[in-house]
Symmetry: C2
Amino acid sequence: MTLEVADSRLAALCGLSQQTRDLMDAVALTDVGEDELLDITTRLADLTTRLQAKSRTSPQPFEIAPDGTLRHLGNAVTGGANPYALPLVVDRHDNGVSADVVFRPLHEGPPAGVHGGISAMILDHLLGQAVANAGLAGMTGTLTLRYRRPVPYGRPLVATAEHTTSEGRKTWAEGRIALPDGTVLVEATGLFITPTHWA
Amino acid sequence: MTLEVADSRLAALCGLSQQTRDLMDAVALTDVGEDELLDITTRLADLTTRLQAKSRTSPQPFEIAPDGTLRHLGNAVTGGANPYALPLVVDRHDNGVSADVVFRPLHEGPPAGVHGGISAMILDHLLGQAVANAGLAGMTGTLTLRYRRPVPYGRPLVATAEHTTSEGRKTWAEGRIALPDGTVLVEATGLFITPTHWA
């Protein structure tokens, strides 16, 4: 299989994942009748069986993207081939990382608001990326979230994070989810630990 | 519409959501060929359109469950009618709350491990439930997670949480995700604030 064919298959897989996200959104919001719900469920079962005809035991592995960066297409937060992922697209800058985020109704916790746990999930990921972007490596040791204001869905938000300090095997990073005008909704501070066998 | 009809429609909606979860899992792991991926994507688009024929603008509202408890079928973590939700089923006890959890491959962050952000999401929810179970009310103010060991998917795990102390409008809770033998994988401490207009 040439790289070109491999890439077109990966593109098809990412397209299927995006269509699955659209389906998830539609399921969470649908108000059609019971007979229609039951018929659609039966048809989804058939398509599920077709996808299971040949399966992996773990999600898509890490791949080298066209720009040379490492990408994990199966990652639960960023994976283009994982329907569970937003997917979060992380931009790297000299002094940190950022991501434009629009949460969806199916991310609801409190009425009209994004579940606090989903904000936590995004910030956990972004702080780790900020540490990696600073050329450091480590596993999350401690993550502290401060919830300032409700996080709305359906509106463009901006998530940013940056490495702050390092001391031996410990590295700290900070991040936040904010409105486009800079109003902070949720803040996070993380401590990352470099495993001893890497040091 | 009688209550019985409403319930059977809700059951159909929860069945559709569970089938959608099975589909998501199949998408994340499928290894079928490109033509099959493309054909399935087209069929999913048709089913999505059918579900969108009549839609709500926000997820399913809160409902009274048969046991008299309040349930939010659209909740991103616990909602039976939300494909994004595990769904987490929280058991209430005299001294806290618990939930049996089996994470799935599409929850992957590090290879063979659950994304740290997903552990954070579960603990955010469970600590809030522990506060509610103690008869207190509050919004999450601060949540601190300590990652002790990698969290595996595909294995039964136990998540527990309990209210610890209260002081004026502040309430604290603690929780953890553990192996069935009690080995703690991730711990959390949360501070919850009762809004002044409730006090």
